[in-house]
Each structure stands twice: as structure tokens, then as C-alpha cells.
């Protein structure tokens, strides 16, 4: 190739190919991201934006009105995440394991049906479950009554102690399809020979799953965990659709996303405050960054990826 010749002049087509993507991405995503971090060091005084250093963060963590809300939202967000990790991912893995069993009939049909909730919007999911669990309509109490468990019923979404767990489970119901699909793909990529070798040694059925398949799909489980983490700490829509911006009852379902929305946009009597909103956004950014770094440098390095 005539490398020296092309080196001499600028290859404009590379610039043309890269420019639109880099421009839109930088202008609408990266620049606002850093601008939001920057805005968290400012405040409005007499209609003028002035630099206040760490004042917003001092308010957020030092002023009880703010810090109580922040820690409440963060704690709720952690519980939201824990439920996803403990319920969504195991169910997803179990369903994928069953689906990937050889010569299973209707596998495509089950796969398609179980993925349906994932494609619905949070608005539909939030309201549908709100109606189903509502004591006025009575589908949930009616069904529990039919199997003799009516005493278990409570207006779950209206009780402070249950509301967050109920909404987390609704979100689990919605997103089980994603871990299921990713694990299913990972299970299908395990070569037959390995499983056959295990079979010769008498490892079949469940023990084949625990001893051979599970160690091989650990990297995929790692990816699912970090995806769950990022999407949970950035969640908003389901809580907003089901409980409104106030994340009732009494803020018991408030998570970082709804807290940031209320702060930044305002609601009812509270005026919106973009600078405090930025401060919360910066805190969320830091949490997600720490989580992603822990995964990339702590977990992913230890998981061996097997190349077949």
C-alpha cells in the first residue's frame, strides 16, 4: 500500500464519517453530563448564577431536610436493587436453564411470551398492576381467596412497609426477560463436547448445571449484574407512573430518580432548583461510576472468560 502518500494529506473522509456521531454525542450527551456536574457547584442568588463551591453538597448532606430525603432515597434504591438481584436474576437464570434443555418443544413460544412484559412501557405496567392489586377492583384478593389465602391480602401499594417491595417485584416481573435471554444465549454457546464429556463422567441433569454450566456462564451473570445496577440506580418511570412524583405513601417508594425529578423540576409547593438537582445528579453519577469501576476492575478481572 502507498502509506507514505496517504499520510501526507489529511484524509477528509475519516473526518466526514466521524463528525456527525461525535458531534451529536458530544453536544447532547457528554457536554451536558459535565455541565451538570459543573452546575452542582453553582447557585442562584438574586437571579444571578454564582459559584458557591461545595455549598449544595453541604446542604444535601448536612441539612436534615435534604439529607433525610437523600439517605431515604438511597436506601430505598439499594433495596430496589437487592430485590432485583435476589429475585429477578435467579428466576431469569432458572427459566433460561429450563428453556435451553435439548429438544424442548414450544421453546420459541415460551421465550416470546415471557419477554412480553419487557416491551411494555412503565406507564402500562405501573397502572395495570395498580389496578390488579387495588382493593377496589378486587382481583388480587379474589384470587387469593380462591386458594384460601385471603388473609394474606393487604393493599400492598398503599402500605408504607410493603409498597417499595411490591413495586420492586412489579419491576422484576417486567424485566425477567432480559437476564433470561442473555443467560439463554450464554447457555446455548456452551459446546456439546463439554457436556458430553461430563456425561461420560456421570454428571447429568442438575449437577451438570451446577458443576459445568454455571461456572461457564459466570461472566454473563456479571454483565447482567452490572446492567441491573446501572438501570436500577437510574430508575424513575415505574415509581412515577404508579405512585406519582411524591413517591408515596410518605416517600416510602422514593428512589434517587424520583428525588432528583422533584428537586430539579419542583412539585406542588416546592419550586424546582436546578442546582440542587445537579448536586443529586452528581451523586448518582458518582454511585454509578463507583459501581461500574468495581465491576470492571474488581469482578470482571476475576471471572475467567472461556473461549470456545
Amino acid at each position: 500500500m502507498s502509506a507514505p502518500q496517504t499520510k501526507a494529506k489529511t484524509r477528509w473522509h475519516i473526518v466526514v464519517f466521524l463528525a456527525p456521531a461525535v458531534f451529536v454525542y458530544t453536544a447532547v450527551m457528554i457536554y451536558p453530563l459535565f455541565n451538570t456536574l459543573r452546575l452542582s457547584f453553582f447557585d442562584t442568588v438574586d437571579r444571578e448564577r454564582i459559584f458557591v463551591g461545595l455549598e449544595n453538597f453541604r446542604t444535601l448532606f448536612g441539612n436534615a431536610i435534604w439529607s433525610d430525603q437523600f439517605w431515604n432515597a438511597l436506601g430505598n434504591n439499594f433495596w430496589f436493587f437487592v430485590i432485583h438481584m435476589l429475585v429477578q436474576n435467579p428466576i431469569g437464570i432458572a427459566l433460561a436453564a429450563i428453556l435451553s434443555s435439548p429438544r424442548l418443544r414450544f421453546a420459541a413460544l415460551y421465550r416470546t411470551a415471557i419477554f412480553v412484559p419487557t416491551i411494555l412501557s412503565f406507564v402500562i405496567v405501573g397502572f395495570a398492576w395498580k389496578l390488579i392489586l387495588s382493593p377496589i377492583w378486587g382481583i388480587a384478593p379474589g384470587m387469593l381467596d380462591a386458594i384460601g389465602l385471603k388473609f394474606l391480602y393487604a393493599p400492598w401499594l398503599g402500605k408504607e412497609e410493603y409498597a417499595l417491595t411490591t413495586l420492586s417485584l412489579v419491576s422484576v416481573w417486567q424485566f425477567v426477560g432480559i437476564p433470561m435471554m442473555l443467560i439463554y444465549a450464554a447457555l446455548l454457546s456452551i459446546p456439546e463436547e463439554i457436556l458430553e464429556a461430563g456425561e461420560c463422567d456421570g454428571i447429568t441433569g442438575l449437577s451438570a448445571f451446577w458443576k459445568i454450566k454455571l461456572p461457564l456462564i459466570l461472566p454473563s451473570i456479571g454483565i447482567i449484574s452490572i446492567l441491573t445496577f446501572v438501570s436500577n440506580f437510574n430508575a424513575f418511570d415505574l415509581i412515577y407512573a404508579a405512585q406519582g412524583a411524591l413517591a408515596g405513601p410518605d416517600f416510602s417508594t422514593d428512589i434517587l430518580g424520583t428525588f432528583m425529578y422533584r428537586t430539579f423540576f419542583g412539585f406542588q409547593l416546592q419550586l424546582g432548583d436546578p442546582h440542587m438537582g445537579s448536586a443529586i445528579a452528581s451523586a448518582m453519577f458518582l454511585i454509578i461510576l463507583v459501581g461500574v469501576c468495581l465491576y470492571l476492575f474488581g469482578i470482571q478481572r476475576r471471572l475467567r472468560t472461556y473461549q470456545f
Binding site: N35, F106, I114, L120, L182, A241, F264
Partner: protein, 279 residues
């Protein structure tokens, strides 16, 4: 005999679990859609029954059609989704081609820079995005949404597409160069048609989150004439909380377009996920 029977029972067990979970997954959709066709009395007296001659009613749909501007909302959602997908695919494929095809200074760095956005959600920057849209006058226009979704979709699109483009044969491109095709022609005429399956995967991955998003329509384009279907149904249902017929009909109408899209693209979507495009 013994093992055959054992195999049959594990098979039945597998189907049992899958059927149970399928029912759990579809039950809410079923309840919402069937009840939307019933009279108010039947909705409450027999919520699990199918509509029959006596209980059949379209009153909810009539209310929705009279009150909500669902057709306009639908059109807005359609414009935003299609335009965003177009820009994600066009700009994403162009950038992916540059990264995969040419060796230049900063290639790796540029790839890493574009990949940053895969893990960091764009919502974190909402405060500054809103300020920017207000100052450029784009707030309450569909362009605000299209730009945001394009930026949001680009990182993963570039990542997936450049993996695919590395697989396109060099001989083909060099043959094109010998025939005197420009680099642009090589990209648009030779390479783009070959990566169509990957582009379809990217499109399907982006389509549903864009269609269903509530956050950005709520913040950037809440005006009546720019409401998307997701935001529109949220507002409508909020206003009609006590009119169960209308709420159930609105929910069913909101489910309908996504289901249609899903039925059309589900094979593509599932193939995309299982072929490891997101690994």
C-alpha cells in the same frame, strides 16, 4: 423403562414451570384487555370473565376517542422513534466504519470515548440538557427528543456495528478502490448492504426504549402538541383515574402498537440478543 419415565417427568416438570411463568407474564395484559371491552358493572362483578353479549361494551373506547388526542400522540411517537432510529443508524454506521476501516492517530481513544456512553445513563445530564434545549429554543419540539435519543443510542450502535464491519472482507473494498470508487461510495454501496442484519439488531434494541420512554418527554416536550403516546396515556389515565372503562381502554390502546411492533420484530430481537450482540 425407568430412565424413560424419569425423562418424561422432567420434561413435564419443565413445561409446567414454563407454562406457569408464561401465565404470570401474560395475565395482567389479558385482564386489562378483556376488561376494556366490558361494562362497568361486569368489570367489578366478574373481573376474570371474558366479555359476553350481556357485558360487552365499547363505552371506554368512546370516552378515550372523544377526550384524548391519541392519534396525535401516536403520530408524535412514530416520528420521534423513526427519526431517532434513522440518525442512530446513519451516524452510528458512519462512525463505526471510520473506526473499523481506517488506521489513524487516536482511533482507539475515539472508540473508547464513544463507548463511554454505553455504561453512563444520559439522564444524569438532564439538568444541562434542559437548559441547552431552552436556550436553543428546541424545548417542546420533537427535535429535542430526537437529538437526545440519537445521542443515547449512538454509543452501543457504534460498538455493535464496528464489530460487524471488521468482518467485511477487505478484498471487496479493495476491488472497489481499484475500480475507482470513492471512500463514500465504498461505504454506502458496498459495506452498508452487507451489515444490514446488524443494523436491524441495533434498530430493534433502540426502538422499544425510545417508544416507551417517559422521562425525556415529561421534561423536554410536555406540551400538548408534542406529547408522545407514553406521556399522553400517563396524563390521560391520571385524569380519568375513576373512570375504569376509559382507563382500561386507554391502557389497551397503549399496549396495541408495542405489541404490533413486537410481533413484527420479535424474531429479529430475540435473534439479536441470542447472537450475542450485547456481549
Amino acid at each position: 423403562m425407568h430412565t424413560a419415565r424419569e425423562k418424561l417427568s422432567t420434561k413435564l416438570g419443565a413445561h409446567g414451570v414454563l407454562i406457569l411463568y408464561t401465565l404470570i407474564a401474560l395475565f395482567p395484559v389479558f385482564v386489562i384487555v378483556t376488561n376494556s371491552f366490558k361494562t362497568r358493572r361486569a368489570i367489578f362483578r366478574d373481573p376474570l370473565g371474558l366479555p359476553n353479549e350481556e357485558s360487552f361494551s365499547l363505552i371506554g373506547y368512546e370516552t378515550v376517542m372523544k377526550q384524548g388526542d391519541f392519534f396525535l400522540y401516536f403520530q408524535n411517537s412514530m416520528i420521534v422513534t423513526v427519526a431517532s432510529l434513522f440518525f442512530i443508524l446513519l451516524f452510528g454506521a458512519m462512525a463505526a466504519f471510520a473506526l473499523a476501516e481506517y488506521r489513524f492517530k487516536g482511533n482507539t481513544l475515539m472508540g473508547l470515548y464513544l463507548a463511554l456512553g454505553i455504561m453512563i445513563p444520559i439522564r444524569i445530564g438532564t439538568v444541562a440538557i434542559l437548559e441547552m434545549m431552552v436556550s436553543t429554543g428546541l424545548v417542546n419540539t420533537l427535535w429535542a427528543l430526537i437529538l437526545v435519543y440519537t445521542a443515547q443510542g449512538l454509543p452501543l450502535a457504534v460498538f455493535i456495528l464496528s464489530e460487524f464491519m471488521k468482518g467485511v472482507s477487505d478484498d471487496l473494498k479493495n476491488a472497489g478502490r481499484i475500480d475507482g470508487l470513492s471512500e463514500y461510495k465504498i461505504f454506502f454501496v458496498l459495506v452498508l448492504p452487507l451489515v444490514r442484519p446488524a443494523m436491524a439488531t441495533v434498530a430493534v434494541f433502540n426502538m422499544i426504549p425510545i417508544w416507551n420512554d417517559l422521562w425525556f418527554p415529561l421534561i423536554l416536550a410536555p406540551a400538548e402538541e408534542t406529547k408522545t403516546l407514553t406521556l399522553g396515556s400517563q396524563v390521560f389515565i391520571g385524569q380519568f383515574v375513576t373512570d375504569w372503562n376509559a382507563v382500561l381502554s386507554a391502557l389497551s390502546l397503549a399496549i396495541l402498537p408495542v405489541m404490533v411492533l413486537y410481533v413484527i420484530f420479535s424474531r429479529q430481537l430475540i435473534r439479536g440478543i441470542t447472537s450475542g450482540a450485547v456481549k
